[in-house]
Symmetry: C2
């Protein structure tokens, strides 16, 4: 048993030819009689042949494909998860001879043009990109695509460009979900507020719009009392929230559509609003945990950063190795984090101090 032949060799035997000939048939190379090629393809079809990519990669020695990654290298929040997703997937794809190359940027939108250019010049065939400055990147992306590179945006889009695909949770939908939830959490006729980052940011505006739209739909007689800008600043967010609570003492809910929710939690807690105001936040990181437990955060809208990274990497790899079309849009459904399921998210895992281990002790993580 288990002595069965495989792949190309099997086909060769079935067709009574050598593996060289099979190879020629399979690759449409010249120097083969049309009839034998037909016969061979026939057989391949029939046994459902599919090539062993590892073997191929090994044989051609050069990587069968190189993929570049251009994403923010921030170590906290969201982007670390996004990277994990890409890297975990990269590790598996390396077994197929696909190489990944990274050209990280410091923070979203900071120097991403240079980083992108660098990748293009290094000759990669595909790029995973968080488009921090879409306007500036668009021409570069178009140029790259023209040259035959596949560009897949992840998390942050460059919608006007001709990128091959985008993997994200739509901001508008993100807001909508928060709105629906809020609408169902609070009593009809309630007043709620939104704490955004900066409304000038496309992303935050869309979330705010989505929220308002859906909230009003699901909360009869409800009202958006105010939309304040926290400007991504700790202190400012805290102040503005406090002010908000003073101005609208009967407020029933707050939606924070940026990652910067801790100041809001603090304000809510210190001023005795816990339990009185439903707080819906965005994204997830360890520091939020205590606020879930105290009941200050009612729910958070989770964007699956790890999965986004994973999917983006896969899309490009599949396209490059198997010619699978890249779907123009992959829109994930956001998750809902509540105190019950909080501990199941990757972000809540204790960072286990992992002693340096030989690079080769292959390990691969699984997302939860």
């Amino acid at each position: 048993m288990s002595k069965e032949k495989h792949g190309i060799l099997l086909i060769a035997e079935m067709a009574n030819v050598s593996i060289g000939t099979v190879d020629r048939a399979l690759h449409g190379r010249g120097g083969i009689k049309e009839s034998t090629r037909k016969r061979i393809l026939q057989i391949a079809q029939q046994i459902g042949y599919s090539p062993n990519l590892a073997a191929r990669a090994l044989s051609v020695a050069r990587a069968s494909a190189r993929i570049g990654v251009c994403m923010p290298k921030e170590i906290r929040f969201f982007y670390d998860q996004l990277w994990s997703g890409v890297l975990d997937e990269a590790r598996r794809l390396e077994q197929l001879g696909i190489q990944f190359e990274s050209s990280p940027v410091r923070t979203l939108g900071e120097g991403d043009e240079e980083a992108f250019k660098e990748l293009v010049e290094s000759g990669v065939q595909g790029i995973v990109l968080t488009a921090g400055s879409p306007r500036e990147l668009t021409p570069l992306i178009n140029e790259a695509e023209e040259k035959g590179l596949r560009v897949v945006c992840v998390s942050t889009d460059a919608p006007e460009s001709r990128r091959s695909g985008i993997v994200c949770v739509e901001p508008h939908l993100n807001g909508c979900l928060a709105g629906e939830l809020m609408g169902k959490f609070v009593a009809p006729g309630s007043e709620v507020a939104v704490v955004a980052g900066m409304l000038s940011t496309e992303d935050h505006r869309k979330k705010t719009d989505g929220f308002s739209e859906r909230f009003l739909q699901y909360c009869p007689g409800g009202k958006i009392a105010s939309v304040v800008e926290g400007r991504e600043d700790e202190e400012e967010s805290y102040q503005r929230t406090s002010e908000l609570l003073r101005r609208f003492p009967t407020l029933k809910g707050i939606y924070v559509n940026t990652v910067n929710c801790l100041p809001v939690c603090r304000a809510l807690g210190e001023q005795g609003f816990e339990g009185k105001v439903r707080l819906i936040t965005t994204d997830l990181f360890v520091e939020m945990a205590p606020y879930f437990e105290k009941g200050i955060i009612t729910a958070s809208i989770y964007q699956h950063p790890y999965r986004q990274g994973q999917i983006a990497a896969r899309l490009i790899a599949d396209n490059l190795t198997n010619k699978v079309d890249i779907p123009p849009k992959v829109h994930l459904s956001p998750g809902v984090v509540m105190s019950t399921n909080l501990h199941l998210f990757r972000e809540m895992r204790k960072v286990e101090a992992k002693a340096g281990e030989p690079a080769f002790a292959g390990r691969s993580a699984v997302q939860a």
Copy 2:
């Protein structure tokens, strides 16, 4: 150029040993002097060695790991998604020379012992299993594990067995999440009810318990008015729900913890309870869509069947090819389906008829 030596061979030459020795050092295998191991690791470190994964995959996949799949072949609901997850992943893993073999059972727990035995006898090295009849399967699983097979349960567990791992959404947690949601949806002091399949089923009982526990915690003064058994029967579920609504006209919420929710929806709709009773269901399939839109279903707890399948397949494959440990438990966080994000779930996708295409033009799907 390019005539340079690489990898393990390079190290071997630098250390004046054979590649065999290098391999031993790198893998912490026995039978090597501590001093030479040190020296070799030293060098590896220094030249920044990283293994050629393609080569490794090729070398190790020689025994062509074979993995068996034993899951219900039901074409609707949940299990079709579970299969998709496994099969999509299988397709990718086949590129690494891993073979999958299936031994489907008709419905959960029906003839799974035979199916399982068959797989074991066919000589697979790992099995993905939905343990429909855990009691009966346990000895078989133990026997298999004893022989060195890796058994990973998915979705339905055999907790008493020595299976290598389980991938699932915990039923208890499932109920808890529903309970927390319900507790936050309805006003304090509300009465709600549970429609279970059969309380004799472990799974349904745990869900019911979780729900009660959390609901009472999050809804001050709340009460579980009744727990009825639908017994997985259309008509019976309908009748019992109607009766329930008659007996408790002020009911504020219902939690259906089985897939069989349509009769409940019907009852609710026909008797004019839409909007008055918050309905939380379990799982997702197309026929539920209209009820979301009409506002009859407020939310559904989603168990990510596709992902469960995917992960289970990966765990075994990683273990077999890369010796990665199988985590004893992978507990996914259930998703929350609401009308806003409904359309983003796989279950809602139109089934596209795909014409047959060359087997080797590999295609692979991506989950959303």
